[in-house]
């Protein structure tokens, strides 16, 4: 186990240096794909859950298909630079990328960018990070109902943190406020770490945050109390906490990490990648690296992933449209 990991890391490093030189050779993609190293663009910086996902799948796909997937972090421009590169690449399977709600759907909707969602085709879902509502441990609000009732009674007085002004969590909360008339004071932070700090310090009343291991550690410690899981199902980490739907509110979002390619990939290449993701999503090593509960148990294929993101677009178009 350890040896193979060492090998794949070594291969990744070697591949990195070969990327530039190994450009000649079979350009006929379909036959022996991949015949050279594949660039795996990442719209986020190294270190977060999306990066872990890209690296775990990159290594696994490389082993499985017999090539090297080189992860390239292009986090400038809030992910727009990575997406632009992916949109502009040749649809031959040698440039793929991870993407999710923000860079793929929300960003091109609210900003003038040189790409849109239509420039990409999904290949499958690699991981999903659920979300939840949480409060600090000594909060007066013991349930989602109490929190929302307080916001109804005092419009704009209850502060609620969201990780980033353009995150899907912020957008979803905006949609809820618009449709239900409940008015929170929404406080965007620069990310989960800052949001958790503010929750722990009691600087905000509540948080709408990714249900990731960083939050889980604080819940285990008793410093943060989850009120509701904002997804279709209860959180695997907190099975006793109800979903928002059970609590009586229509507010839900999930960060879906899909693999994408520029539109127009040859069918056999996209098939190869799609089944590759499926196999890797059952790979023990991938699951242990990303975390068991973030890798979907039943594979969501190319069509299903595409559907998730076009649903997202329909849902948020009225809120974000320029």
């Amino acid at each position: 186990m350890n040896k193979t990991r060492l090998f794949s890391a070594a291969a990744a490093v070697a591949g990195l240096s070969l990327t530039v030189t190994a450009c000649s050779g079979a350009s006929n993609a379909s036959e022996g794909y991949p015949a050279k190293s594949v660039t795996f663009v990442m719209p986020y910086a190294a270190g977060g859950p999306s990066d872990t996902t890209a690296r775990a799948y990159g290594a696994c796909l490389g082993k499985l298909l017999g090539g090297t997937f080189v992860v390239e972090n292009l986090d400038s421009g809030a992910g727009a630079v990575a997406m632009q590169k992916l949109a502009g690449a040749k649809p031959d399977g040698y440039t793929v990328g991870l993407s999710t709600n923000g860079p793929l759907v929300l960003n091109p909707m609210s900003n003038d960018l040189a790409y849109s969602q239509d420039d990409f085709q999904a290949l499958g879902t690699m991981a999903e990070i659920p979300t939840l509502f949480a409060v600090p441990k000594d909060s007066p609000y013991k349930s989602l109902q109490e929190l929302f009732d307080a916001a109804k009674a005092n419009p704009g007085k209850i502060s609620i943190g969201v990780p980033g002004a353009t995150s899907s969590l912020a957008t979803e909360l905006k949609r809820l406020q618009k449709e239900s008339g409940i008015e929170f004071s929404m406080v965007p932070t620069s990310g989960s770490a800052e949001l958790i700090t503010n929750l722990l310090g009691g600087h905000i009343d509540a948080g709408f945050v990714n249900d990731y291991v960083d939050v889980e550690a604080q819940v285990k410690d008793g410093a943060i109390v989850p009120l509701a899981a904002a997804g279709e199902a209860r959180s695997e980490a907190f099975p006793k906490v109800p979903t928002t739907k059970e609590a009586g509110y229509d507010v839900k979002t999930t960060s879906v990490y899909g693999l994408f390619a520029p539109k127009g990939l040859p069918q056999d290449v996209s098939d190869k990648l799609e089944s590759g993701i499926e196999t890797c999503s059952q790979d023990a090593e991938v699951i242990s690296q990303i975390g068991d509960r973030f890798v979907p148990n039943s594979f969501s294929d190319a069509a299903a992933t595409q559907q998730v993101f076009s649903d997202m677009r329909t849902r948020y178009e009225p809120i974000l449209a320029k």
Binding site: N2, R5, L6, A9, A12, V13, A45, A46, G47, G48, P49, D51, T52, R55, V71, E72, N73, L74, D75, S76, G77, A78, A80, V81, S110, N111, D112, L113, A114, G156, K157, G164, A165, T166, A170, S185, M186, V187, P188, T189, S190, A193, E194, I196, T197, N198, L200, G201, G202, H203, V213, D214, E216, A217, K220, D221, A223, S288, Q289, G291
Partner: protein, 547 residues
């Protein structure tokens, strides 16, 4: 003592030959990348992250931490020798460090920086060992309102740093704040001043701006001079800090350690503020503040010490609470997750071997850095013997590669060049890049925190009084202003007396460069004047009582 037995356990982990090797690799790599301008710890750790997945978790964190604090040592070298600050905290070091190089005292500057860094780092690790859990809680007391106060304090210090006129410093700080608004609005996400350029959505990159204004501008300026002039200019007088240098710096190092230790705990911006605060403090305490910005060794010793101390204490929120306080620590967080270890409040108990092993490795790493850096100083200053033309070309190449490596973006290479030209024009017109760059770093935190505070308070400014952290910091600022006003008043009355007795003093003023006292909006700037010295009052005022 429970802590001592834990630390003992930590040392038994850190002294394992394999772990010792990884400490060494970490600090050597850290120093090396610190020396290469632009290629900071962020890019390096991102590159090495996949490699650590195959390693033992303790060894990998020991190595990554070594890279991080090692790069803080290394970053000094280019700031001092070439005026190329690789990260925000070393901007302050360029003020006096580069001037020392010009006077042939590069060795002394680097030597004192290494010694100060060692002491600051060690003091911070001792603090980390014994006080981590308590201090972790302090970090939490800083909410948005507290950060607003901290950033105001920072800006306050920024405008007091320059050697030139205060009006110029303030206007440069304003430009820095303006430039920091480029990119997505932190609250509603709309694009500002991006002109349709996707890379600008995340704003201008700090390293590109700083490298351009300081480094590239300086390279351009050096091309104006003949080669002969430069050889004389960079003649190396002495390699080691003299006994007097050590004596002069001792206080600065002590105060820098304390400042860096406490300010470093605050997530985000801690490093810059601590080196800024240390510089301002040394300048204020100095007998002759006019030496600052012209090669005062305390101006290198204090900020460098504070910077290293704060980079060590930045680990406290991560190790104790599971909150990464900057990008580099976020990546170390990611590395831990990959090994199935979640940094959080339970880390200390669930993985005590790792926790204490990493802390113990920092003691060892700091010692290694000192031993490594002392002989390296001698080697690095040889760089100054390289012919200017070659050195300039080579530096520019490395700067461009480094800047590219941060975001893998060629756009940033244009940014660094554009700011290089701007910096060159600024140096021609007597504008100091320091306030601009530092305000550029503080601006986004100030804006975001202020708007968050306003959202939380519903638009009421009361939050800055009711929030304890904000109240304390604002109280501190007011106290400094009051003190300054009182001493200013005393000096004025004393000055009036003095001028009646000895009207000749007016042209003996050594503080001429600090600008006239009366139109100085920043109380710290001229708080420097010491009783007994001729007061820096404008001639007109000075004469009025006698006229």
């Amino acid at each position: 003592m429970d802590i001592l037995s834990n630390l003992g356990e930590g040392f038994s982990v850190a002294l394992d030959p394999m772990n010792l090797l990884f400490v060494l690799i970490g600090v050597v790599v850290g120093t090396a990348i610190g020396v290469l301008p632009g290629l900071g710890p962020t890019a390096t750790i991102a590159l090495l992250l996949p490699v650590t997945y195959t390693m033992d978790p303790t060894a990998s964190i020991i190595m990554l931490a070594g890279i991080y604090y090692g790069s803080m040592y290394g970053g000094t070298i280019t700031s001092v020798l070439l005026r190329l600050p690789g990260e925000a905290a070393s901007v302050v070091t360029t003020f006096d460090g580069y001037q020392m190089t010009k006077q042939g005292r590069a060795g002394a500057a680097l030597g004192i920086a290494a010694i100060g860094s060692f002491i600051g780092g060690t003091v911070a690790i001792i603090g980390l060992t014994f006080l981590a859990p308590v201090l972790g809680k302090i970090a939490l007391s800083m909410g948005p309102a507290g950060f607003v106060a901290l950033m105001v304090l920072g800006l306050f210090l920024v405008t007091s740093l320059g050697t030139g006129s205060t009006i110029k410093s303030v206007s440069m700080a304003a430009v820095g704040l303006l430039l920091s608004t480029v990119g997505q609005d932190p609250v509603n996400g709309s694009a500002r001043f991006t002109f349709g350029q996707a890379p600008l959505l995340s704003g201008l990159d700090f390293v590109a701006v700083a490298m351009g204004l300081f480094g590239v501008a300086e390279l351009l300026r050096s091309l104006e001079q003949t080669e002969k002039a430069q050889i004389i200019k960079t003649k190396i007088k002495n390699i080691w800090p003299s006994r007097r240098d050590l004596k002069d710096s001792a206080g600065a190092i002590g105060r820098g350690s304390a400042l860096g230790f406490f300010i470093g705990i605050l997530p985000g911006g801690g490093g810059v503020i601590s080196s800024l605060a240390s510089y301002a403090m040394e300048k204020r305490r100095a007998k002759d503040p006019s030496r600052f910005g012209k090669g005062a060794i305390e101006g290198v010793a204090g900020p460098e010490t504070a910077n290293n101390a704060s980079s060590t204490t930045a680990f406290i929120p991560l190790l104790v609470l599971g909150i990464p306080s900057n990008v580099v620590l976020a990546m170390i967080f990611g590395a831990l997750l990959m090994h199935g270890i979640t940094p959080g409040p339970q880390l200390m108990t669930d993985h005590s071997g790792l926790f204490w092993g990493v802390i113990a490795s920092m003691y060892i790493g700091n010692l290694m850095l000192l031993i490594l850096n002392i002989p390296l100083v001698g080697i690095f200053i040889q760089m100054l013997r390289v012919r200017q033309g070659i050195l300039v070309a080579f530096s520019l190449l490395i700067v461009l590669i480094g800047v590219y490596s941060i975001n893998n973006s060629s756009f940033d290479m244009w940014v660094v060049l554009a700011f290089g030209v701007l910096g060159w024009i600024m140096s021609k017109t007597g504008f100091d890049p320091g306030p601009l760059v530092l305000a550029f770093v503080l601006g986004p935190i100030l804006e975001k925190s202020f708007r968050q505070s306003m959202l939380i308070s519903g638009g009421s400014l009361d939050i800055f009084v009711t929030d304890p952290a904000a109240a304390i910091i604002f109280g501190l600022i007011l106290a400094v202003i009051a003190m300054k006003a009182i001493t200013g008043f005393r000096r004025r009355t004393a000055g009036a007396k003095a001028s009646t007795e000895a009207p000749v003093t007016e042209d003996a003023s050594p503080q001429g460069t600090d600008g006239p006292d009366s139109d100085d909006p920043s109380p710290l700037l001229t708080a420097s004047a010491v009783p007994g010295e001729p007061e820096p009052l404008p001639a007109g005022k000075q004469h009025s009582p006698t006229a």
